[in-house]
């Protein structure tokens, strides 16, 4: 499986890389929303972990851009957030085709990998 992680925290990307590649999957990473968006436009991913609160170009900006270019529905995005986004806001995003699930940080790594594999196989 080919998984993309978009997060502005390098240590979190390193953790995702460690856990995801230990399961035999490929992991591609982007340190900001703009680079993440470029990668989504260039490659197909089985699942995308998307941080919401990133400076300059946030996870929400990534979602809006994909919506505008009509590419959101082709993605399998898992929101991965430590923000205090309410359940209501998360539920609103989960209504979009292409946004599959939400994981709140910090997360048990076993639950993280289970969710990623579930979404990638869906």
């Amino acid at each position: 499986m080919n998984i993309l992680g978009i997060d502005d925290n390098e240590d979190i990307l390193k953790l995702l890389d460690t856990v995801i590649t230990s399961k035999g999957h490929d992991f591609v990473q982007a340190l900001n929303g703009k680079d993440g968006l470029k990668l989504i436009e260039q490659q197909d991913f089985d699942a995308i972990l998307l941080d919401l609160a990133m400076p300059e170009f946030s996870g929400l900006d990534v979602i809006e851009s994909l919506k505008k270019s009509n590419k959101l529905k082709d993605q399998k995005i898992i929101l991965f957030t430590a923000s205090s986004a309410t359940d209501k806001e998360i539920d609103r995003l989960l209504q979009y085709d292409g946004i599959m699930s939400c994981i709140r940080k910090p997360v048990d790594i076993n639950i993280l990998i289970k969710k990623i594999e579930e979404v990638a196989k869906s």
Binding site: D11, L15, S22, T86, D91
Partner: protein
């Protein structure tokens, strides 16, 4: 409220959101890597000494994360900034999810966990907040049951307009005096030198505030040496 009051309130709210994000973020790699290091499928198998050390880091970083969440929640509840979002959901699914999330801790302490349910039950309430209450009650039970012989039972049942949850443990239990202040703010400080446990004592206060906001109540039945049963109710809400 004047415009300047409103903007100050808004600033406070945004600052609280920023604190939540900034405090949680560094804990993600700390908790994540300290869990990953214990897994021989991810890292080389550690020696017993290394494993013990990493377990201590893992346990304490989880404890720190809980305290940060609790302090921020108390601030939000105290200023009415905590929002409640009602939607329909299945209680049975929720309890399964809660047990899944606590699985790591119950396995580590070799606790026998039993789930007792009536039947599937759909209610209209705040799923995330009820989950928070159940995890809090379960975490307490996990802390207080004896190592290697711990038993916890979690269940729920329908009670007219409410749903009743309970978490039963075979821990040391507590006397009447200790039960009295359990759900009160600053109970740890009020007990002064008599206090028996560490921590801020905010978990159960938050549970009370949440269930009261969800039209319910929380209480405990306990006897010293005989374990405890924590009960809480929430309104089932109106179904669509």
């Amino acid at each position: 409220m004047s415009n300047s009051d409103t903007s100050t309130e808004k600033l406070k709210e945004e600052f609280l959101d920023l604190i939540t994000h900034e405090f949680q973020t560094p804990l993600v790699p700390i908790i994540g890597f300290s869990q990953a290091l214990q897994n021989p499928d991810i890292f080389d198998k550690l020696t017993e000494k290394q494993l013990d050390a990493i377990k201590i880091i893992f346990r304490n970083s989880n404890h720190l994360q809980n305290m940060i969440t609790n302090v921020l929640d108390v601030m939000k509840l105290g200023t009415d900034k905590m929002t409640f979002y009602h939607k329909e959901f299945d209680i049975n699914d929720l309890v399964t999810e809660v047990l899944d999330e606590c699985n790591y801790k119950t396995n580590e302490k070799k606790i026998q966990v039993t789930k007792k349910i009536d039947e599937d039950l759909i209610i209209n309430s705040d799923r995330l907040r009820i989950k928070q209450v159940l995890i809090n009650l379960l975490d307490n039970a996990i802390s207080f049951v004896p190592k290697d012989n711990g038993k916890i039972e979690i269940g729920f049942s329908e009670r007219e307009k409410h749903v009743l949850f309970y978490v039963k443990d075979n821990g040391q239990g507590m006397g009447k005096n200790e039960q009295f202040d359990l759900f009160k703010m600053f109970n740890q400080v009020l007990q002064g030198k008599k206090r028996k446990h560490g921590g801020l004592g905010l978990g159960l206060v938050i549970c009370r505030m949440i269930v009261e906001n969800l039209g319910g109540d929380i209480w405990v039945e306990s006897e010293l040496g005989k374990g405890s049963i924590f009960y809480c109710t929430v309104s089932k809400g109106s179904r669509k």
